[in-house]
């Protein structure tokens, strides 16, 4: 027999012992195996039953269309919900979510390459300073001009902001950073998005994602040999670090574009849906930034982030085994009424939210409430020394604010198409939660 099973420390053998009675027993079990001692934890009691929700609902079409009601059930009843159907723990309260995000000693996140099963394919170079500098310079340099390009491309008087603005701006910026000419931008965008979607569970998406990764690899191999010397070129920065095409593709894959896409879509849906909200942000750029932060609190594009327990750890009264998956929901935490007043309301000039990136903490000095971490964890370098650019978190925020401010100034009369009621949803479980259709007239 072949030996398909190999374990890190366990003996790998295909020997089988045939006993006197003809019974086959694997040799590595012959005479007994090693053993491990457990702390046996207490059983649940009647009062701890979880009958208000079923794990199947958390992988349902209902959840993809509107996760808020289900996550509110979890947050208010089962703050650390053991989901046997999807084999994970759901963490939904603000303080619990922040405690997991900051606990890197006990919990890890895994790369997108791991989800693809191709760890070692390439390096994620986003934290390298030359790359980060190029990234920040490109975002700062082109956020406004590329927004203007998009506006000039709108059909006269009407457009779909979700499709023609929110979805396209991140691609234009990535094109700048990775030296993709306009003529190649659409196929690049299609491959890039397919590669992003292939990370998750859908079989067709996985397959097309793998194909897209290979196509991107082939696309960047020749480009890497003839990079320009612009200080806004991430491609040139990667080449300068001796990076390969696989490094370029890995950096792109780990970066993703959908958070900026989702952030823009959700911000504008809220601004256009709430009476008076647009008026608040039109006159003051700082007000646009506050509205952006509020949009990230109220409607973050990422429903959950995945964290895996590095080792067996007891949290929230549960014994979480090594490798245990925690679905940590910023979306649920940001609606936690223990933290935010009128937490279900979008208030463009909300006061009980931190208006600047906290210095290494989720509660900024002197401010009553936490920040909204809809875009993920802020930088670990909050003081931003002079030799270091802002974090990708801050860059995304500033780009979204610049683009939205530009849009508001250029199209002062913008309004939702009469009668249209915009909604947010995931196209598939686990994907970005955003508004996909936002027809406007201006």
């Amino acid at each position: 027999m072949n030996a398909p099973v190999t374990t890190g420390d366990a003996p790998a053998t295909d020997d089988v012992v045939i006993g006197d009675n003809g019974v086959a027993i694997p040799r590595f079990n012959h005479g007994g195996t090693g053993w491990r001692s457990y702390e046996v934890h207490q059983r649940e009691r009647v009062g701890e039953s979880t009958e208000k929700i079923n794990g199947a609902q958390l992988a349902s079409a209902e959840y993809a269309a509107d996760p808020y009601p289900l996550l509110a059930i979890l947050r208010e009843n089962y703050p650390c919900y053991r989901d046997w159907i999807n084999n994970c723990y759901w963490i939904t309260r603000y303080d619990d979510v922040t405690s997991i995000f900051t606990d890197e000693a006990n919990f890890e996140n895994r790369s997108k390459l791991w989800y693809y099963g191709i760890e070692g394919f390439g390096r994620d170079l986003r934290e390298e300073l030359p790359v980060l500098w190029a990234w920040s310079k490109a975002m700062d340099a082109f956020a406004e001009t590329d927004t203007q390009r998009l506006i000039e491309g709108f059909r006269k008087g009407v457009t779909d902001l979700a499709r023609d603005f929110a979805a396209q701006l991140p691609i234009l910026l990535l094109g700048r950073m990775f030296e993709v000419p306009d003529t190649e931008l659409a196929p690049f965008a299609i491959r890039y998005r397919r590669a992003q979607r292939g990370v998750l569970w859908h079989p067709t998406a996985q397959e097309t994602g793998k194909g897209a990764l290979l196509e991107l690899l082939q696309y960047f191999e020749p480009k890497l040999r003839q990079v320009g010397n612009s200080d806004t070129s991430v491609l040139a920065a990667i080449a300068g670090l001796g990076g390969t095409a696989a490094d370029v593709v890995t950096t792109l894959l780990e970066a993703d574009h959908e958070t900026l896409h989702g952030a823009l879509g959700n911000l504008w849906m809220n601004l256009l849906s709430q009476p008076g909200a647009l008026h608040v942000v039109k006159s003051d750029r700082l007000a646009m930034k506050i509205a952006y932060l509020e949009a990230m609190r109220h409607s973050p594009p990422v429903i959950t982030s995945e964290r895996f327990a590095r080792h067996e750890v007891e949290r929230f009264g549960k014994l979480i085994p090594e490798g245990g998956l925690l679905r940590v929901s910023a979306l649920a935490a940001n609606r936690d009424p223990r933290i935010f007043n009128d937490s279900d309301q979008f208030i463009a000039d909300r006061r009980d939210i931190c208006h600047r990136e906290a210095r290494g903490h989720y509660r900024a000095d002197g401010l009553p409430q936490g920040i909204a971490f809809g875009m993920g964890r802020p930088t670990r370098h909050p003081a931003v020394p002079e030799d270091r650019p802002r974090s990708l978190y801050a860059l995304t925020r500033d780009t979204a604010v610049t683009a939205s401010w530009t849009l508001a100034q250029k199209l002062p009369g913008i309004a939702l198409e009469p009668g249209f009621v915009p909604t947010m949803r995931c196209l598939r479980i686990g994907e970005v939660f955003t508004c996909w259709q936002l027809p406007v007239a201006y």
Binding site: G22, N29, N54, I429, Q437
Partner: protein
């Protein structure tokens, strides 16, 4: 923007797709065929994990497991955060590796059952398993067979004398009976009840505990009911245990002769590391025996009769030689249509299997259903054949998976976590069925009352676990 028109069009297509992105309804296929879930560029079938929660999968699982065995022997279901192991050889290797794949996920049974040895490994597991497992095998079991036979005869006589119940219909010269309600649902629970040493007046209550706890496992919608039943059982057992600690109780044969102490009495007398077992530990052991001893045997009896009566030639051969053939029928039933799908494991170390890297601590589902249908081991695995020559059908193997060149089925698992109730389950199913076959004349399926498949004509397949109802008819004269 013009340069991104193709990109925008692809987005539009996805936004207007009919796939809602979450659970979907799959079409129901003829048994043995699969829904087309797409193919890769080389023609390999793709696999959509949403199928696992579909009605289609529950009635027609085996062709889907074939896809996994043939193309994804270690399938990573990212939607449910689970790895599926589906080939026979891989499953037995993992079951035997008590160090690498040691226990079921902690807490998965404790929600309702309490702290049991299912969540332990190595010497701790063996010690606890043996506390009661020793009473369910060998000489201890042989002594209990007469009482199993008596219970079966009593139950059959009871419903054979009944009229006007929803599950026993008298039509003069023939009777129609739903075997689950009339016999198979309750028979294993009564056996367990007797073996444990519960008073007979508690047996009806015991049936409620059993049903409620089983349906309340795993965070189900009836979880609370399961916990309440467990609490009720614990309250009852507490008094019983205290009584047994003062006054041991004995099992007796039909002549009233003492054949040994009941299991609760024995558990009361048991010491681990110098300490007597606590009431909670005893209750957890009882809850596990109840849960494990009921569902598996109930499913085995119903599935075995359903399959046999759909294969009249094999049933006739069995009736001609019942002493030797019931064991074969039992084993082939558990291979073909086991009521237990498999067992979950956590891997202690990082594992590489078939090119798949599985990080330590992952949930790896050992799919006994699939292993039992692996055509690398069993010829024509979908065929029910009690006379097949590639299945070991002798006395249950205590630890091995193969004897005399033939493999055993995986329905009870193999290795250190082999079901300790396998032997008594075997005895219950075979002895009970033997008595049914002897007692009821010209027994046959009542096809008009049986659930039908999607064509409205064919009998419903067993699918996952067991057929929901089994209507039989037999002659009264």
């Amino acid at each position: 923007m013009d340069v991104l028109r193709d990109y925008a069009n692809e987005l539009d297509a996805e936004v207007h797709s009919t796939d809602p992105g979450g659970t979907i309804t799959f079409p129901l296929m003829p048994v043995g065929q699969t829904v087309d879930m797409g193919h890769d560029t080389r023609g390999k079938p793709l696999f959509d994990p949403r199928i696992f929660s579909s009605r289609e999968f529950f009635r027609n699982p085996y062709p889907y497991y074939r896809i996994l065995r043939d193309h994804y022997p270690v399938y990573h279901d990212k939607l449910h955060n689970t790895y599926y192991i589906t080939r026979y050889e891989d499953v037995w290797r993992c079951y035997f590796d008590d160090e690498g794949f040691n226990t079921i996920p902690k807490g998965s049974s404790s929600g309702v059952l309490g702290n049991t040895q299912l969540e332990l490994s190595g010497i701790e597991h063996r010690r606890r398993r043996n506390l009661y497992g020793q009473h369910l095998v060998g000489r201890s079991l042989d002594l209990r067979v007469p009482s199993i036979q008596r219970l079966a005869r009593d139950m059959i006589r009871d419903w054979d004398n009944q009229t006007d119940t929803p599950w026993v219909i008298d039509e003069g010269k023939k009777r129609i009976v739903e075997l689950g309600m009339a016999f198979a649902n309750e028979f294993p629970v009564r056996v367990v009840c007797e073996v444990l040493g519960f008073p007979s007046e508690a047996q009806k209550q015991f049936y409620y505990w059993y049903n409620s706890m089983m349906s309340g496992l795993g965070g189900s919608l009836t979880h609370k009911q399961g916990l309440e039943a467990r609490q009720s059982l614990e309250d009852y057992v507490q008094d019983l245990v205290e009584e047994r600690r003062r006054k041991p109780s004995f099992l007796k044969d039909e002549d009233g002769k003492i054949i040994g102490k009941d299991i609760i009495t024995k558990l009361c007398e048991t010491k681990v590391d110098g300490d007597y077992l606590s009431t909670e530990e005893i209750t957890s052991n009882i809850a596990l025996v109840v849960a494990a001893g009921g569902e598996t045997t109930r499913g085995a009896i119903i599935n075995m009769w359903y399959l046999l009566l759909q294969h009249p030639d094999q049933f006739a051969a069995l009736c001609a030689n019942p002493d030797e053939t019931w064991d074969r029928a039992f084993h082939e039933t558990l291979r073909n249509s086991s009521p237990i799908g498999g067992q979950p494991r956590h891997n202690t170390f990082d594992v590489n299997m078939h090119g798949m890297h599985v990080p330590a601590g992952s949930l790896m589902q050992m799919v006994d259903f699939s292993a039992n249908h692996d055509d690398r081991v069993f010829k024509d695995p979908e065929k029910f054949d009690i006379f097949r020559d590639d299945l070991y059908s002798g006395k249950l193997l205590r630890s091995g998976f193969m004897k005399e060149g033939r493999c055993s089925h995986m329905a009870f698992g193999v290795g250190p976590h082999l079901c300790p109730g396998a032997w008594i389950s075997h005895q219950e199913a075979v002895e009970g069925s033997r008595i049914l076959q002897r007692t009821l004349k010209n027994i046959r399926l009542c096809t008009e009352r049986m659930p039908k498949d999607i064509d409205g004509v064919s009998l419903a397949p067993i699918g996952i676990v067991r057929v929901p109802q089994l209507w039989l008819e037999y002659d009264r004269e």
